[in-house]
């Protein structure tokens, strides 16, 4: 009986290891491919471990070409999107949680509905809107478009968190003479700080990874974000595969590392916001 149990645990561990291996392997392979010499890359046997003598690829990828500029553009877009989404989303989440007003149910439904609209659908009307207001081919325009897509999820996540703040605390603040904005800023915000952080991470990486708007709205090479720059490598001749993989890895790394640190809050926020809606 005990013997059978032990075997069960070992088998289980093995399956877990295989599952984890499959999950992580493509990222590992990105890194390994970047660090492989041409001879090994196109040899008869694939090289399975990184060749660290090739590390110059990463240095070249950063110093030459447009990689740094791409990553910088992505950072600007993602930061702008995060700030704007929080600036609009926190008050909206607060209003949805605390006030009753005409059309509230409709608004909540609208927020859920917008979550299922594909970017590809709205890209055409936004394209003509942006053309009229001269927002095409500009990073602020991209920020505006991305914010539209993360605002609903940010607001829903924050609504959920504010729902959890006891009303008595707010009333105590109101007795002390604080206005609604003061109550929100001084009482609610500190209490829901972890959820705000989660919402910020979600907004940041949505914009960091976003591709459809970026590829449609940005034409100039100088302001391409990394997603568009990287996608341009597909089918392009002349750029070494190692460089492409090095840039892809540099683009992936911050997203993964950030998620690993913020995982607890992000998962909590995503479940609350997306699943419960």
């Amino acid at each position: 009986m005990i013997r059978r149990f032990r075997l069960g645990v070992t088998a289980r561990m093995l399956i877990v290891l295989v599952a984890l291996g499959l999950a992580v392997f493509p990222i590992y392979w990105m890194f390994t491919t970047a660090l492989t010499s041409d001879a090994d890359l196109f040899g008869s046997q694939p090289r399975l471990v990184p060749d660290f003598s090739q590390f110059g690829v990463f240095i070249e990828a950063v110093t030459e070409g447009r990689t740094l500029r791409w990553l910088l553009n992505s950072t600007v877009v993602a930061t702008g999107t995060t700030l704007l989404a929080l600036l609009l989303g926190i008050p909206l989440g607060y209003a949805l949680s605390r006030f009753s007003f005409w059309g509230k149910a409709g608004l909540a439904l609208l927020l859920l509905f917008t979550q299922m609209l594909p970017e590809a659908l709205l890209v055409v009307p936004l394209f003509s809107l942006f053309r009229r207001f001269d927002l095409l081919d500009s990073l602020p325009g991209l920020v505006l478009a991305n914010t539209a897509f993360v605002l609903p999820i940010v607001a829903l996540i924050l609504k959920g968190a504010i729902d959890g703040v006891p009303r008595e605390l707010e009333e105590a603040g109101r007795v002390d003479g604080a206005r609604p904005l003061g109550v929100l800023l001084r009482i609610n915000l500190p209490l829901i700080a972890p959820t705000i952080a989660a919402a910020a991470v979600i907004a940041f990486f949505h914009a960091w990874n976003e591709y459809v708007f970026a590829v449609t709205f940005i034409f100039s090479r100088e302001i391409q974000p990394a997603s568009v720059g990287l996608a341009g490598f597909v089918g392009e001749q002349g750029t070494a595969l190692q460089t492409i993989m090095a840039v892809a890895f540099l683009f992936t790394l911050p997203a993964v590392v950030f998620y690993l640190f913020a995982q607890k809050y992000v998962v909590g926020g995503m479940t609350a916001g997306a699943v419960k809606g």
């Binding site: 990222i27 007003f101 979550q115 590809a120 659908l121 055409v124 609604p180 996608a231 993989m245």
Partner: protein, 284 residues
């Protein structure tokens, strides 16, 4: 006061564009000359529904969405159950499993294309070593294999989210109940059915709904891996819509395709609500 800025924002950037898109679907409009549009009524819809390629698109979308949902929820649930036990390094394992979900779609598409490279890709090499006949163009060039390859990549991307959400739902399964069931001599499967499954069922249902909506929307992975080809074998609704708008520059037909997609999403959501309610009413 709190509401106005965000509500206005959503109206300007989502509601008005959506209304415009609905209007466009009844017109003949080109991308180069969007101001000169001509009202054509239901002609775009008639055109779309009468074309054989659109029927293939619908079929491809259906296969893609169903396989994504089954794959992502199935794999995610299985891995979550495996990770739920106590074992050394569990924290690390749970963190590592989220990696695919955190990886940007563009990077995922790039590495997938390289791993499936017809000559030197590691997956191609493994398949050939196993004796699978992979054509000279590789799997992405083969109408029979391109969709499965994209499906595998999508499931790889999506299952960690399912896994992590189910793991958190599993926290609320009362340990006493499982122990009690095991004391009564119930086997593993039976215990799962009567205890665990009952607790996580609503979560699994919501995840299935979420995966349906997400895979209906999925764009960049397919676009970068195959652009809908070969021979339209991976052309889903969203790909069709984007290609129609920006390659063929027919905004009206593109909008009509988009509307079909939105309608499908709405039907799925309404249907899931209905099924959910019916399931609640059915006594077990």
């Amino acid at each position: 006061m709190f509401l106005a800025p965000a509500a206005l924002y959503i109206i300007v950037f989502q509601v008005i564009p959506l209304l415009q898109e609905i209007y466009l679907s009844f017109t003949r409009t080109t991308l180069l000359n969007p101001t000169r549009s001509e009202w054509v009524g239901l002609a775009n819809y008639a055109h779309v529904f009468s074309s054989a390629s659109f029927r293939q698109t619908l079929l491809t979308t259906g296969v893609y969405v169903v396989a994504c949902v089954v794959g992502a929820v199935g794999v995610g649930l299985l891995v979550a159950l495996l990770l739920n036990g106590k074992f050394p390094g569990r924290g690390v394992a749970r963190a590592l499993i989220t990696v695919p979900w955190a990886a940007p779609g563009i990077a995922t598409a790039l590495i997938a294309v390289w791993m499936l490279n017809p000559q030197y890709g590691i997956v191609t090499r493994i398949l050939r070593a196993l004796g699978v006949p992979v054509g000279a163009g590789g799997v992405l060039d083969d109408p029979a294999w391109a969709l499965p390859a994209i499906l595998a990549t999508t499931v790889w991307q999506l299952f960690p989210f399912v896994c992590v959400v189910i793991l958190s739902a599993l926290q609320s399964v009362p340990a006493e109940l499982i122990e009690a069931a095991e004391m009564d001599g119930a086997g593993r499967l039976w215990t799962f059915r009567v205890v665990t499954w009952q607790v996580i069922k609503p979560t699994v249902g919501l995840l299935a709904l979420l995966m349906t909506i997400w895979s209906l929307r999925r764009f960049e992975l397919i676009w970068l891996m195959t652009r809908g080809g070969p021979l339209g074998s991976t052309r889903t609704l969203v790909i069709d819509l984007y290609a129609e708008a920006f390659d063929a520059q027919r905004l009206g037909t593109a909008a009509a395709i988009g509307m079909v997609g939105v309608l499908i999403s709405l039907i799925v959501i309404a249907g899931s609500r209905f099924v959910g309610r019916a399931a609640e009413r059915t006594p077990r």
